[in-house]
Amino acid sequence: MADAVLFEFLHTEMVAELWAHDPDPGPGGQNMNLSVLESVGFRVGQALGERLPREMLAFREELDVLKFLCKDLWLAIFQKQMDSLRTNHQGTYVLQDNSFPLLLPMAAGLQYLEEAPKFLAFTCGLLRGALCTLGIESVVTASVAALPGCKFQVVIQNS
């Protein structure tokens, strides 16, 4: 449905809005804005997690949860699955999307690389929020080597 497009437009505008307060915030300012985007995403991820059917949540292992995020969650939200999932089996996972929809509007090419973190912060929060609702505390970061591909790194926090 076209409402996926509506979300993408809203996301782009949110990124623009949170920077508009201070067009040149400097390094400290930028981090604050990224964390605001991340926390908005976190709230959405939590809420999404709460709406999952209970039977979907009979995960036996942590890896099953991450697979769920890569397949079912990603498919529901972005109409595609994550392209790869790797882990060191010690609580660190790398989720790779070779064509991340929220990066697609940006021109492919290295010149826009420094803008990429703004477009990833919300989704990092979303992953962290969904994991939180599923009982897993984590730190999620993202990196871009070549647009529109990116990697999300999930590090599970042991309680």
Binding site: M1, A16, V40
Partner: protein
């Protein structure tokens, strides 16, 4: 679960964040309108590409397209069109259900907040790109206890292309 929830939930989280960022509801309303406008001026291209509707010849056709095509396409609802002014320059969109507010309750200290104000900005921005200056505003809101949600649309003027100086 799906992308409709994603939009609704994200919108809710955004409004919550704006209420933290701004001191009063009026400023949040303005910000939502502005953001909506920025979305609208780009959304119109997406809409025209998907829908294949031709040029609207009058405001009545415009109303039909907004309610039956645009709202249906993006929000999955078809508002009804009522209360035409005698001059045909104003009408109301009545939303029995507003999908934006599915999980929302307004806290007591935000009685002036126009929660869905983004929609007014979107309508204004999109129509401006097709040469129509309009005003859109909420006159009823289920979040405030009204039975329905009503958006009043008013045609202000046609936007003519500006001619270069020196030409008639």
């Amino acid at each position: 679960m799906g992308s409709q929830w994603l939009f609704t939930l994200t919108y809710g989280a955004l409004v919550t964040q704006l209420c933290k960022d701004y001191e009063n509801d009026e400023d949040v309303n303005k910000q939502l309108d502005k953001m909506g406008y920025n979305i609208g001026v780009r959304l119109i291209e997406d809409f025209l590409a998907r829908s294949n509707v031709g040029r609207c010849h009058d405001f009545r056709e415009t109303a039909d397209v907004i309610a039956k095509v645009a709202f249906k396409m993006y929000l999955g609802i078809t508002p009804s069109i009522t209360n035409w002014s005698p001059a045909g320059d104003e009408f109301s969109l009545i939303l029995e259900n507003n999908p934006l507010v599915d999980f929302v309750e307004l806290p007591d200290n935000h009685s002036s907040l126009i929660y869905s104000n983004l929609l007014c900005g979107v309508l204004r921005g999109a129509l401006e790109m097709v040469q129509m200056a309009v005003e859109a505003k909420f006159v009823q809101d289920t979040l405030k206890g009204d039975g329905v949600t009503e958006i009043r649309m008013r045609f202000i003027r046609r936007i003519e292309d500006n001619l270069p100086a020196g030409e008639e």
